[in-house]
Symmetry: C2
Subunit: 231 residues, 2 copies
DNA sequence: CCCGCTATTATGTATGCACATATTATCGCT
DNA sequence: AGCGATAATATGTGCATACATAATAGCGGG
């Protein structure tokens, strides 16, 4: 009995041909039916293998036109957006948390802009400090739209960070993240225990439930933080 | 004639049930066969829909155990790693490039460490400045392993950046990226036109062909740079 | 009561087929 | 030659089926 050709094996072989330039950049590769015949498998198997390679940016597929190896492959990397507590605990450190401020108010203009809110919208403002082994890890500065989070008044942000509470209690559909560097101002320097002007790694996220803005958050990490991902 | 139920429509409905908490976090969802019967489609169609949701971190699937909605969904975001020239041109700016240095030598210890090379390995060191509309955009500081790049001596890094040349001319299989913030030293400040100590956004990539290290590169961007991605 | 074997079950995947869809190539007409 | 209708073609997707695989539950023996 012959063992079946798996889509993984087809994918691995296709990847090898791309890497070894048997299928040179810019060239067309054989069509699915031919490859299926060559590998001795069904076309659906080839299809799945190539589809995933195309999703990863290693092939370009167009109906009728066929499949080609792109000249300039655009590599796609995936990274996970974990709950901060899990991130810290996953590094073998003890998690700590300090709530700094909870208040309702009108957010500053940049926050209103990214959430596409009018000048009179009142949001819940939560600031907190996350700690790893007792040392400052990151500052969370968040604005939450009560209109998009029905149970918001039941949340106790002294007991659970807004980060974790929102992940558990809201249903979000889309959003964006931006990463950047910023100098520590006096407030950040005090909280993170670093000199003013230190180079800090920051991330800003916005999350939406359809057209409804849920939250905008800025996370600023203590000096030396690195975001790591595989490619 | 009834139009077939597409895997996209099944996926959309599953996503709705997760978001609307019809399938609450932590709960099991019906098995594929039951869902197929409910939607009036084949199990393979349900499988594909749910498989992709699981890949996105919105479901957890285990054989025999079934499929559940995770309590703490780990969102996965993908970002593209473009050629720097394309990145700049895609923002509607004119691309410019200045080669700063090409030399062969022994890399500093941190570079040797990430590439797992011995203390005597000699690599090609390339430094260059990328410009957008004439203004400094990012500094590229790269070490290339000649043993992994056969045609390296044919490359003219004055005409094409090492970034782009390597994307076109090497077959890499895996790698990693790290993002971080760093203060501008005197050299970076001079190249990027910013004061020393300014907070800069940096990225370090390593790429491999199997077990063979190809290149390690540090990119440091001019102040204000933001890396943007959708989630 | 504990351990290990076995049966069960849900997902994972391969197959052959059919048809849909997008795109290109070609043919015929003016 | 130019243009538009039409045929051809590669990928995209759905279906029914079969079997593989992993993990659990349950049973039996010690």
């Amino acid at each position: 009995m012959v063992q079946p050709v798996t889509w993984q094996s087809v994918q691995a072989e296709a990847l090898r041909r791309i890497r070894d330039r048997e299928w040179p950049p810019g060239s067309m590769i054989p069509n699915e039916a031919d490859l299926a015949a060559e590998f001795g498998c069904a076309r659906a198997t080839v299809n799945r293998a190539l589809r995933e390679l195309a999703a990863a940016g290693l092939l370009e597929r167009r109906r009728k036109a066929g499949t080609r190896v792109p000249v300039n492959p655009v590599r796609k990397a995936t990274f996970e957006v974990p709950i901060i507590r899990h991130d810290i605990e996953g590094r073998g450190k003890a998690y700590g948390y300090r709530l700094l401020e909870v208040a309702t108010g009108v957010p500053p203009e940049p926050v209103r802009a990214v959430l596409r809110l009018g000048p009179r919208a009142r949001l819940l403002h939560v600031r907190a400090l996350h700690l790893a082994d007792g040392a400052p890890w990151c500052v969370e500065d968040r604005w939450i739209n009560p209109a998009a989070v029905p149970d918001l008044d039941t949340a106790d942000f002294a007991a659970m960070s807004a980060n974790e509470w929102l992940v558990r209690n809201t249903a979000f559909s889309s959003g964006g993240i931006e990463f950047f560097a910023l100098p520590a101002d006096a407030g950040l320097a005090g909280l993170l225990g670093c000199p003013p002007g230190a180079a800090l790694f920051g991330a800003e996220r916005t999350t939406w439930a359809g057209m409804l803005p849920i939250t905008a958050v800025r996370l600023v990490y203590a000096p030396g933080h690195r975001m790591v991902t595989a490619i």
